[in-house]
């Protein structure tokens, strides 16, 4: 499987002018990977702690309501909503729509706005009643 490094590669990241659609494509992968690791860890920890009893649950909640907990949870909320909005955008593109440059850029921005607004709304509700 040795590869001859002298051979040319097809055009890659370096030659393209970065745009929101390209950036979001990368960010979407990173968000997915973050949810699959950090998000899953937090979810499983929460469930196992809840099933283990009040003491284990209190330990989890102690960390979740500390400032690191908030940073991670708000980050996960944003990651989910962005991944969700990007996923819906993918459904549209899977049907062959939304590929011309202007529409593609515009909808890419819409996913970011949707993610920010939904994350804000979610945490507005949470902080209003306390975690």
């Amino acid at each position: 499987m040795a590869r001859n490094n002298a051979r040319p590669l097809s055009p890659h990241l370096g030659i393209w002018k970065p745009g929101i659609h390209m950036t979001l494509s990368i960010v979407n992968r990173v968000m997915g990977a973050g949810l699959a690791t950090v998000g899953v860890l937090a979810l499983v920890w929460w469930l196992v702690a809840a099933s283990s009893g009040a003491e284990a649950y209190a330990t989890f909640m102690g960390i979740a309501t500390g400032w690191t907990g908030y940073v991670v949870l708000i980050g996960l909320t944003f990651a989910f909503f962005l991944h969700m909005a990007m996923g819906i955008r993918h459904f549209v593109m899977d049907m062959g729509a939304g590929f011309d440059l202007k529409a593609n850029r515009a909808w890419a921005w819409v996913t970011v706005i949707v993610a920010v607004v939904l994350t804000g709304l979610t945490w507005f509700v949470i902080l209003n009643k306390g975690l």
């Binding site: 899953v40 860890l41 499983v44 283990s52 909640m61 459904f91």
Partner: protein
């Protein structure tokens, strides 16, 4: 079929015939996620608080425990497929085999613990 470049080695073999199924499952589980994760977030937001007793009482109800278990299965299936694609894109050679193995173990171990926790609460958690 040549044996020089990576392209030369695979030219003429055709596709592995598994790609479109993989791609399709990613979309099907994505649709499931859309429903189940939103259900999960809205359910948590509607709980009066995140105190232990409240959460246990909620999860002990079949109307929470069943979608919660489905949520775990669907989300884990989806991330298992997605992470495999990422690994196949960026990790090569022997490391790829190790990483894919680790992903598989992570998915099933974490999923097993999550499902057990849900069922434990559902079956023993709170008096009906």
């Amino acid at each position: 079929m040549g044996n020089g470049t990576a392209l030369g080695r695979v030219r003429g073999l055709g596709s592995a015939k598994g790609g479109s199924h993989h791609w399709w499952l990613q979309r099907v589980t994505a649709l499931g996620n859309l429903i189940l994760v939103l259900w999960f977030i809205i359910s948590l937001l509607r709980l009066p608080s995140m105190e232990h007793g409240v959460v246990i009482k909620w999860l002990a109800s079949p109307l929470a425990a069943v979608p919660m278990a489905l949520f775990i299965i669907n989300v884990f299936w989806h991330f298992r497929i997605g992470m495999q694609v990422i690994i196949e894109d960026y990790v090569h050679g022997g490391m790829r085999v190790i990483t894919l193995g680790a992903l598989h173990i992570w998915t099933f171990a974490a999923g097993g613990f999550a499902l057990f926790a849900i069922f434990k609460i559902a079956f023993t958690g709170a008096p009906a």
